[in-house]
Homo-oligomer: 444 residues x 2
């Protein structure tokens, strides 16, 4: 509570200042703790209207609603290009960002709920091969693209550019699979499993490439133990989550059953989801990996007792649906809002961006070779692995701070090209997946 006191410390005030204070206090009537809710509400209204209109429009023309949400976001986020700047601040609004991040946790938690550990392990070998191929191939292709466009650059910078192409951003694919009701198809499970492994591999690639560059600069050999430690923590989390998590979830639901009040089922599920997302984040993985794992280990059998006590016998999927309907579009519209169309006006980088995008797409098509199950649509798996997201951006951002032989590892042109590549791969995936998976019968 003292936070509010220290925020105002004028000594003596004139009438004008008092009226400003009154106006401020009026605005702040919900806000003695430094949060201004009004811009967030403004953003939510715009986002929800855009999401519903865009989603409905694209659903009507047989596309995934997520494409409509993304494009509504692009529209809202780029009104500045036609001179309308009232919404410019929303792109970077921290409140909306938090809601978006929580929204994507709910998406992956729900996707995880539809599947279970056994189903995922059944395609585990394929997921592993798909993930490994999907890291190696784009990395090699990215290396050659960079070497072709920038022959004067250091060889390690080429590898760094390759590294920005590695990590699949699973949010888009998970959402399209959910919209198509195909999360539990063989293709869907292989893609989701590969995306989890991908996140682990991405961490390692980043550690190794950055470590080699740092060692090179310091004139000494690379110390591989750091990469190994990161790997151990991440794998430890995943194995621990599956082995201990399943056993723990059963116990927690049993204990929670004794609480005997309404709403316990949703409460326990939220706690499991958030705590596993937190743990994943603590070991360096994306929190969405933790949320997905939480969904996987939760089994309807665990919570039959609690469900029976709900006055409408709702299962978790039903309870989570309204929360997702509120928060998931925030993630995708905000993602669209962050696409800065002016980058596409930078003709100088478009050539490299185009080549990088082709490398990004082609590299993930190699994944199709890793699918072991007969009768599976390998092409769909390759398409589902296409989207790149914030991890690529983080790689590029770190590359922008690294120097080798006096030259920046990722310069402005390369950074812009990565931004364009991320936008293009994000937007092409929903229509490609709908085209490929939408017409075949769900294999369940």
């Amino acid at each position: 509570m003292p936070a509010f006191r220290t925020s105002i410390h004028a000594r003596s005030l004139g009438a004008a200042t008092v009226l400003t204070l009154v106006a401020r206090a009026a605005q702040a009537s919900t806000d003695p703790h430094g949060v201004d809710l009004l811009p967030i509400l403004e953003g939510l209204v715009l986002i929800l209207v855009g999401a519903k209109l865009g989603g409905a429009l694209f659903a009507r023309i047989g596309q995934s609603p997520v494409l409509g949400e993304l494009l509504a976001g692009v529209l809202i986020g780029n009104l500045g290009l036609v001179g309308f700047h009232a919404f410019d601040g929303l792109r970077q609004d921290q409140g909306l960002e938090i809601l978006a991040q929580i929204g994507v946790l709910f998406l992956l938690f729900e996707v995880g709920l539809h599947s279970n550990v056994q189903q995922m392990l059944a395609v585990g070998a394929s997921s592993m091969i798909v993930a490994v191929l999907g890291v190696i191939a784009p990395m090699v292709l990215g290396y050659f693209c960079s070497a072709w466009f920038f022959p004067a650059h250091h060889v390690l910078t080429h590898w760094f550019v390759g590294a920005t192409l590695c990590a699949t951003s699973v949010g888009i694919t998970a959402r399209v699979l959910a919209d198509l009701d195909r999360t539990t198809s063989t293709e869907g499970r292989i893609i989701l499993g590969a995306a989890v492994i991908d996140d682990v591999l991405g961490l390692i690639v980043l550690a190794v490439v950055s470590g080699i560059i740092a060692a090179e600069n310091a004139g000494r050999a690379f110390e591989p133990m750091q990469g190994l430690w990161i790997l151990l923590k991440a794998v430890g989390f995943l194995v621990g989550a599956i082995v201990i998590g399943q056993w723990l979830a059963k116990g927690v639901f049993k204990a929670a059953g004794r609480l005997g009040s309404q709403g316990v089922l949703l409460g326990v599920a939220l706690v499991l989801c958030f705590s596993m997302a937190l743990l994943a984040g603590k070991v360096g993985l994306a929190p969405i990996v933790g949320a997905f794992a939480a969904g996987l280990i939760l089994d309807e059998a665990h919570y039959q007792d609690l469900r029976a006590r709900d006055k409408k016998r709702r299962d978790l999927a039903e309870l989570l649906e309204p929360i997702s309907a509120f928060l998931v579009p925030v993630f995708f519209v905000l993602m669209g809002m962050r696409v800065d169309l002016s980058v596409f006006g930078n003709v100088g980088v478009l050539g490299f961006a185009a080549v990088l995008t082709v490398a990004a797409v082609a590299g993930k098509q190699v994944c199709a070779l890793g699918v072991l199950e007969r009768g599976t649509d390998r092409f769909a798996v390759g398409l589902g692995m296409i989207p790149r997201g914030e991890v690529g951006l983080i790689f590029a951002g770190i590359g922008a701070t690294l120097h080798i032989a006096g030259e920046r590892v990722v310069d402005d042109a390369v950074f812009s090209a990565v931004v364009v590549m991320i936008a293009l791969t994000t937007f092409m995936t929903p229509p490609l997946l709908v085209w490929r998976m939408g017409r075949t019968k769900p294999a369940g």
Copy 2:
């Protein structure tokens, strides 16, 4: 997207720095836009566990679950007193604050949904008298308390102390009424209507008292137009919301019906709730007043078509329930966390705090006289008006910045006493209301 680039601008980096960057990037894997999700997840886990345990415990002993949530918050928020400081940062976490603020919007929106404009207007005269009495009586009592304890202070400081006692904080009462299923009882409607009017009156009191102090300091007469303008905006919003809002809601639902996709009902309701909360905030009222008004004007008749299209024919109350179950406890646990128990150790202020609390409680009991409806439990109305909240804190905070005749209008001792008064009135209301309203039959 460039935000991330500018956040790292080291020129050349050693191996140690690179590893720090890698670790940071790993932590930030969801976070190229400056939000660290992990503390928020940690807070959510603690809050939800505390809320469920505290709520279930208090429900079992026949109390309102909200009291358990508040006390769980006090426990979490004051672990620092026994030397455990790991959670100290959560009290001021902006992410949790945003979720809490959105949570209380959902609470008031739901409460509004249970009622409608006609039902509220039916008790409008009582609500108005209750609100006016509930502002005047505590203000006069507060004046005398201050004059008794601090005879040397300027007369205007006494009025300012009185003003901090005016505004009812409707969140607690709304929640207890909802828990008791009594939101639509005559008593419930009178209290909720009075709380809305109270918010308007509070704004005016603040403007007038601060304006008079500023005028006194400047040696000129107070200009009442400012207060009038604030009043006009607020009343204009409420009348406009009810008249235009009802007509608009019908049209919006009709138009939305043409969208023809799933999830439209919830989407439209959220947009209405958030836009009216935004408008309320823009005219200086609390956003929860807007959310409540949005709930009032929404009538089940408006959305029968949309509901019929839902695969489970869920109404809005059912769709909103899981969202509230997630977000509403965040508000109340965080409110508990912000109670700084160490203030109670400050023996010097406890005397004044006790007198102020008695004045706050006694002042609102006068409200009972304003109830016109026969057969209504007047005492319950008075009890429901007891809680003071953040508005009182805002008043006190502004008073702390104002000076009159060289003396601070609200000094540290008075500020601490206000904090104690808010905590006590917040905690005493749930058991008092449960005692008074819990045993009588719902009249709703």
